[in-house]
């Protein structure tokens, strides 16, 4: 009897081992912990149905810890097979340190334009190291019920925008503009980088900063800081201690009318807001015909150079380049817009509105992301701090702009 039991146990063990050899598990490192269920329930099952021998695990870390945790894991050799890539220098550094593999020869990379790949390519353009997944677009989300109640229309120009804000403020029942400065990045990203491209003419201004022909404290960029400062009277009480989740809650509870948004907020409000909401693009300065939007290359996925399952991981990456993935991803995560050149149908009405601006306006990315955040002081970090201080009223827009320009001049040769 005992012997029989032993044989049974051994048999089971052998079967287990045989089974384990059949399927390969690959792990994805990511900072998108909000998307865990979407990956597990919507995206990965489609892939696993086609490749039953590959088991994909989505293993996210909290966004604020992601970079630090990932670096530590890569150094320790415990990182997953696939790495979700932050745009520009954070990922470039990983590639230069040999942690990310080159993906030049990956089938399907031709489905992405040069602009789409620009955030995950070496400065000389010789190596691409991540498959672009999605961009995010900035704009404003508004509460349709409040707009209907107060008889307001979507503003298109800056003066219309302020007229709407004044009307909401005069009514007094709702917070006109739902944004806080406690988290600092909210002021810079949802404020400055949202409305800014209209003032600095998108790519023209951004590339001007890089080649030294534009400055943060003159013309378009200075005007953008002034425009940001004008928001202060429309923010809610105690906005100085209002965090990003606070802002989301205030808007979702229907306490505020207009929310300076990143398109990723759409899926949040789809699940939390009980009212209907719409979106309008950043208002253009009066008299200006062209409009510009921030269509920021935000997220990509690369291959851990030390992955023991590189072959299977590459199969997954090839699938990420396909139209199937692009459609699946764009619709499962409304607000993250595929960077693929293949045609993708977006079903969510608000997300479709956001992505529709790509046809009306010129796209640009956030001014500080390419090259300019390589030095000390860090340009992006300084933009966070100064944008928040301008809204808090502790520095004037001109002083703030001068500080940022001085920070750039301290180390960046083309600006000296």
């Amino acid at each position: 009897m005992k012997r029989l039991l032993l044989v049974c146990v051994l048999l089971l063990l052998v079967m287990n081992v045989a089974q384990a050899q059949d399927t390969v598990t690959i792990t994805i490192e990511s900072w998108r912990n909000d998307d865990l269920t979407i990956w597990e329930d919507t995206i990965l099952p489609v892939f696993e149905a086609q490749y039953p021998n590959i088991d994909v695990v989505f293993a996210p870390t909290a966004p604020a810890e992601y970079n630090a945790a990932l670096n530590a894991k890569l150094e320790g050799g415990t990182a997953g097979d696939l790495i979700t890539c932050r745009p520009f220098d954070a990922s470039l550094a990983l590639f230069q340190q040999g942690y990310l593999a080159s993906l030049n020869d990956l089938a399907g990379m031709e489905n992405f334009s040069d602009v789409a790949k620009s955030a995950w390519i070496t400065d000389d353009g010789s190596d691409v190291f991540c498959v672009p997944m999605a961009s995010v677009i900035h704009g404003f989300i508004y509460n349709k019920d409040i707009f209907a109640e107060l008889g307001l229309e979507e503003p298109a120009t800056v003066s219309e925008f302020y007229a709407v804000l004044d009307a909401i403020k005069a009514d007094g029942n709702y917070i006109p503009l739902v944004m806080g400065t406690a988290d600092q990045w909210e002021s810079a990203t949802m404020g400055f980088q949202n409305i800014g491209p209209n003032y600095w003419k998108g790519e023209e201004g951004r590339l001007g900063l890089i080649d030294g022909s534009a400055q943060y404290n003159t013309e378009g960029f200075a005007a953008a800081f002034e425009a940001l400062a004008a928001w202060q009277p429309y923010l809610g009480d105690s906005y100085q201690s209002q965090t990003y989740p606070d802002s989301q809650n205030i808007f979702a509870l229907g306490l505020g009318a207009i929310y300076p948004a990143g398109s990723w907020d759409i899926s949040v409000f789809n699940s939390t807001a009980e009212f209907e909401f719409g979106a309008f693009k950043p208002p253009v300065p009066d008299g200006q015909e062209d409009c510009y939007i921030s269509d920021h290359t935000d997220i990509a996925i690369g291959l851990n150079a030390a992955s023991p399952n590189a072959e299977e991981a590459r199969i997954f990456l090839e699938w990420v380049t396909s139209a199937e993935f692009a459609t699946l991803y764009s619709n499962a995560l409304p607000g993250f817009f595929s960077l693929s050149s293949l045609p993708v149908e977006v079903e969510d009405p608000v997300a479709a509105e956001f992505v529709g601006w790509r046809n009306e306006c010129s796209s640009t990315i956030r001014s500080s992301y390419q090259i300019l955040s390589r030095g000390e002081p860090n340009n992006e970090t300084q933009l966070w701090e100064i944008s928040a201080s301008i809204l808090n009223g502790t520095v004037t827009p001109q002083e703030g702009a001068d500080t940022i320009q001085a920070g750039l001049e301290a180390w960046y040769a083309p600006q000296q």
Binding site: Q184, Q240, W384, A388
Partner: protein
């Protein structure tokens, strides 16, 4: 033969010390020395080799126009954080301990437990709870119920650090209170009774009998407060983020170290400068502990000998 027996090496001491020494060396001393070593190197470009620069990183930290304001601000803020603990938390703990050691207060063990509870909770939890209490959404509504208009305490440069220090005091006050309480209870009743017989009042007994007798504990609490608060990081990171918002007004040495060593958003990690910041923290803490050992503790020892 007895002579050689006396000389034989006391192996049992080695055996008993070994686990602690090995673990402590492996996980505390080695990383400390290695991080001090790393602070003497620099990396010219991402992924490049480490180059020895001696005290170059420290020189940069204290003279470079970019680093110098950051380190001085962080040291200043850390001192403020420490001083608020020293002069609010510890006197408060002493007051609570002397109240709780009195026989006339009913429900002492309930108070003791309640006051001590926050210090066993996670700092992250404490941070989130207080952030919620002080938030403009939930907290304002809460305070409005009792007729107080809550200012944005965590969002203003002038109030953020003192308020967070007090939150930390609220969390940790139980620990020094317990230490003081243990010391107060250990005082022999005869001493107090004798003082009473000689006509000392309650206040007099506290200042002249109890306080001098618990001086060693006061010293220990002071040095623990110093070490604990110069290492502080988690509460600030939880509530204000790695940048010590607003406008770096809550930026401590701990957050400056984290930001430099691990990077933040687009700012890439700079381990060599980060370890230099850690080196500064080490020097400050080490100096503080040495001062304690060579002044306070030595004087206490001398006093005991004289007694």
């Amino acid at each position: 033969m007895p002579a050689s027996k006396r000389k034989s090496f006391p192996w049992h001491i080695v055996v008993f010390l070994a686990p602690a020494v090995i673990i402590y060396t492996l996980f505390m001393i080695y990383p400390l020395i290695d991080s001090l070593r790393l602070s003497l190197y620099t990396v010219e470009q991402q992924g490049g080799p480490e180059v020895f620069v001696g005290l170059g990183n420290y020189q940069r930290l204290f003279t470079d126009p970019f680093w110098q304001p950051q380190i001085t601000r962080a040291v200043g803020n850390t001192f403020e954080f420490f001083l608020i603990h020293m002069f609010v938390q510890n006197p408060l703990a002493l007051l609570l301990a002397s109240l709780l050691s009195s026989r006339f207060i009913v429900g002492r063990s309930i108070y003791r437990t309640l006051i001590f509870t926050p210090s066993v909770l996670s700092v992250v939890l404490i941070g989130f709870i207080w952030q919620l209490i002080l938030s403009p959404v939930f907290g304002r509504a809460l305070f409005a119920q009792i007729g107080i208009k809550l200012p944005p305490l965590l969002g203003q440069a002038e109030t953020a650090l003192p308020v967070l220090s007090l939150v930390s005091v609220w969390q940790w006050v139980g620990v020094p209170m317990m230490l003081f309480l243990a010391a107060l209870i250990a005082i022999p009743d005869e001493l107090i009774e004798a003082a009473r017989v000689d006509g000392a009042t309650g206040v007099g007994v506290f200042w002249r009998i109890k306080l001098p007798l618990i001086m060693p504990t006061v010293g220990i609490v002071a040095v623990l407060t110093f070490v604990g608060n110069f290492n502080a990081f988690d509460l600030i990171y939880t509530t204000q983020g790695a940048l010590g918002a607003p406008d770096y007004s809550t930026d401590l040495l701990g957050t400056l170290f984290y930001r430099t060593f691990f990077g933040v958003q687009l700012q890439l990690p700079n381990p060599t400068m980060g370890t230099a910041v850690a080196g500064v923290m080490f020097v400050i803490i080490f100096t503080g502990v040495l001062i304690y050992l060579f002044t306070w503790q030595r004087r206490l020892l001398r006093n005991t000998v004289e007694l």
